[in-house]
């Protein structure tokens, strides 16, 4: 028995990456993938490998950096979440055609549900689109094991290989076996060869058929050599149902069958959904009259079968076409497929209690003391008739304050602002528009939108919410901070103001968002400038994220019940967990469990009901 420790699925993947001898790892954070790269750095430090570990400014950059490093014969990997793969789709499609030298692993973490994403797309579909092999782990241990096989397969066929963990694998905690580092002793050795490394159309006419041939061979391998990931758990005797399952759905099925002590159901586990070992699956289907397919989130296994018409799955809607396959969902699907009765819902009393007690799920909110809340408040105060396109980050939660009108994807706050500008401008109207974006997102994809707006002379205000961190995903570094992940590595800070000026913006002001009066003034000024000069102006609102726990002035506050008229202005437009509305008393109140005594709400109440508690100011 080796050394077992409890790891998060993402740590298990990271451990595999380091043990497998990966020498360049690049990523952009995004739930549910964010914990992988910091763990790669930690294990590399602990195990003393020379792996370069870096946050890239976006996923396309991460992909290209890592892919190219593999051209030299080294093992490399790029890590991202599923929507990050959209950003990296361009290089994915071309690099798939390359005859790579070193092993190149793409980790793309999916979010069925979704829990923390703007889509619940399936990265395995992307693997199919790009024609690259894909592994789909069912547990943390299996995810770690698959990292080694993915690198080996990548080197056998000289092609990129994807590992697609879904959120329940990323964020599961499990005892996992630790191993030693594989020292491959490789030296970077780039062999120039334009047919191999330059994707000219003439070369693609050769490489595309090659890619198809590689994929055929991988499929053959998946049929025969990967029994540890693709196998059947047979029923005892005649099977009443055959289930084809991949990812964590397989684990859930196995737990259910065990709890039910059922042996009349056979299960085919598929750990390599693309290219699908079609013969294996067809053989299983031929032996079962009744077949249920469980996979997240798209019917990727089903789509690769020549005949899927008799299967109960996502494709024909027997399995819901959207959403996570939770244990309760899988339980009901199995029972439905068997034609057996569903468990009776015995929770009417509980439902009645929940209703009477008014217990509702709590949606996420910006932290108490979050500088974004103050920035949004000032923005609305200055330009109440504005349109507010926003972006991806904690600050998307500005919807709670009615200060986020649109969000598309990373960087779209700026381009949406341009879209609104043009649509109103063609009517001859000056519509105030304020785009909000975080520091990390600005570097990720915001700069291009800014250049476009300067070039085309679009009038709007860009508010950069600079909180010195990539907050939503748990606090990663980025260019505005300049830290790097590995011990001893030094980065360099990239100055946002300098970048903004360099893009050609002439109005740039930095403000402290906690001072909402001052920032509101600056917002007004910025819009005036934008409107009159026909160009974007930029306000940088700089205050550290609460996660950084930096020391700041403590202002104890109270709501004066004699002054509070119960208008709910504060809960509607400020929306702090520390300042709820007491429906019984019809007044706002401070909830000391959550209040961090930032004191900003004192500026919010138009009736002066929120007061500093005398003598406690520090």
């Amino acid at each position: 028995m080796g050394n077992k420790v409890i790891l998060l699925g993402n740590e298990a993947i990271a451990r595999g990456i380091v043990e497998a001898g990966c020498e360049v790892a690049s990523a952009y954070p995004g739930t549910p993938s964010s914990e992988i790269l910091p763990a790669v750095a930690r294990y590399a430090d602990e195990l003393g490998t020379r792996t370069a570990v870096e946050w890239a400014v976006n996923e396309k950059v991460a992909f290209e950096v890592a892919a190219t490093a593999s051209f030299t014969g080294k093992r490399t990997c790029a890590v991202m979440k599923q929507v990050g793969l959209n950003v990296a789709a361009d290089p994915l499609m071309s690099v798939a055609h390359f005859d790579l030298a070193g092993g190149f692993l793409i980790v793309s973490a999916d979010d069925p549900g979704p829990h923390s994403s703007q889509t619940e797309q399936d990265s395995r579909y992307f693997a199919m689109f790009a024609k690259v092999p894909c592994f789909d782990p069912a547990s943390a241990q299996e995810a770690k094991d698959m990292v080694f096989d993915a690198f080996d397969l990548s080197e056998k066929y000289h092609m990129p290989v994807m590992l697609r963990p879904a959120v329940r694998v990323d964020h599961c905690r499990q005892d996992v076996e630790l191993g030693e580092v594989k020292d491959l002793g490789r030296k970077a050795d780039f062999k120039k060869d334009i047919r191999r490394w330059v994707c000219l159309p003439a070369h693609v006419r050769i490489t595309h058929p090659q890619l198809n041939a590689k994929l055929d061979s991988v499929r053959e391998d998946f049929e025969t050599l990967y029994g540890r990931y693709n196998y059947e758990v047979p029923a005892k005797g005649r099977a009443a149902l055959g289930i084809i399952a991949s990812g964590v759905s397989f684990s859930i099925v196995m737990d259910l069958l065990k709890a039910w002590k059922r042996e009349d159901i056979s299960v085919l586990k598929i750990g390599t959904p693309h290219p699908l070992p079609v013969k294996m699956v067809e053989d299983f289907i031929a032996r079962h009259e009744n077949v249920l397919v469980l996979e997240e989130t798209y019917p990727v296994i089903e789509m690769q079968l020549p005949d899927r018409t008799q299967l109960k799955g996502r494709w024909n809607g027997f399995v819901p076409r959207a959403g996570e396959l939770l244990p309760e969902v899988i339980r009901d699907l199995i029972l439905k497929a068997l034609g057996e009765p569903l468990p009776v819902e015995g929770a009417t009393e509980l439902k009645a209690a929940i209703e009477e007690l008014k217990v509702t799920p709590k949606p996420p909110m910006l932290c108490p003391g979050c500088p974004h809340r103050a920035s949004f408040f000032a923005m609305r105060k200055a330009l109440p008739n504005g349109i507010y396109p926003s972006d991806i980050g904690c600050y998307t939660l500005g919807v709670n304050q009615k200060d986020v009108d649109t969000t598309i994807d990373m960087g779209a706050s700026l381009t949406s602002a341009s879209g609104f500008y043009l649509a109103y401008r063609t009517d001859g109207k000056d519509q105030p528009v304020v785009a909000t974006i975080g520091d990390s997102t600005f570097f990720h994809m915001g700069i291009l939108g800014l250049v476009n707006a300067v070039y085309n002379r679009h009038a709007f205000v860009l508010a950069i919410l600079d909180n010195r961190i990539t907050a939503m995903t748990g606090g990663q570094s980025n260019p505005s901070i300049g830290d790097k992940l590995r011990k001893g590595d030094e980065g360099r800070q990239v100055d946002i103001e300098g970048v903004v000026r360099g893009c050609g913006v002439s109005f740039v002001k930095v403000v402290e968002p906690y001072d909402t009066k001052d920032s509101a003034e600056v917002f007004k000024e910025a819009w005036e400038h934008a409107r009159t000069h026909r160009e974007p102006s930029v306000v940088i609102l700089r205050h550290p994220c609460m996660l950084l726990r930096q020391k700041q002035a403590v202002v104890k506050v109270r709501v004066n019940p004699d002054k509070c008229i119960g208008c709910k202005y504060c809960t509607n437009f400020f929306n702090c967990p520390g300042l709820p509305f007491d429906e019984a008393a019809k007044k706002a109140k401070i909830d000391e469990r959550f209040c961090v005594q930032c004191g900003v709400c004192i500026q919010v109440c138009p009736h002066g009901a929120i007061e500093a508690v005398e003598g406690e100011e520090e």
Binding site: R168, L357, M472, R593
Partner: protein, 186 residues
Amino acid sequence: MQYVIVGLGGQGILFTSRVLGHIAVSRGERVMGSEVHGMAQRGGSVISHFKVGPYESPLVLAGSADLLIAFDQGEGIRNLHFLREGAQAILNIHDPTALENPHLKKYAADRSLSIAGIPGYKILHEKMGGRFLFMNVLMLGAMCGINAGNVSIDEIREAVAKLAPEKHRADNLKAVDLGYGYFKGN
């Protein structure tokens, strides 16, 4: 043994399953669990599943948990359906009248659930200067106080001492004992 641990983002519920996991592994048992990271951590409802024994999947099926630990009473009540018949629950209570709700009492009686409440905020307010970040270890102590969770208070003390950061060790242990003492009366 299957646990469901619920609360609000930022209450430090992840540490609870780390402690339980540490104990299970030192006993040579297998563990499997599921956590919430990302946007939901921003103050919203969060749920951790944790299983000790020969399980393959990280999620607990509704109606099969042995114990529910709730850092917030609303979240606790909302998630009682995870419990199997005869299971236990420990809730951090800020409004004790909720447990007197007749529907809730009937639900618990029908399914032989035993639901215990502890005024965690009040205790931490009075005894630990309102440092609510110790709620997680207080709840672990309370769990042992109602003889739930299949672990002893000594195992909890030992694991917390090992996993808590050096400078907060003494305070963490104090909070464990406050939770335990609330039920064991010392």
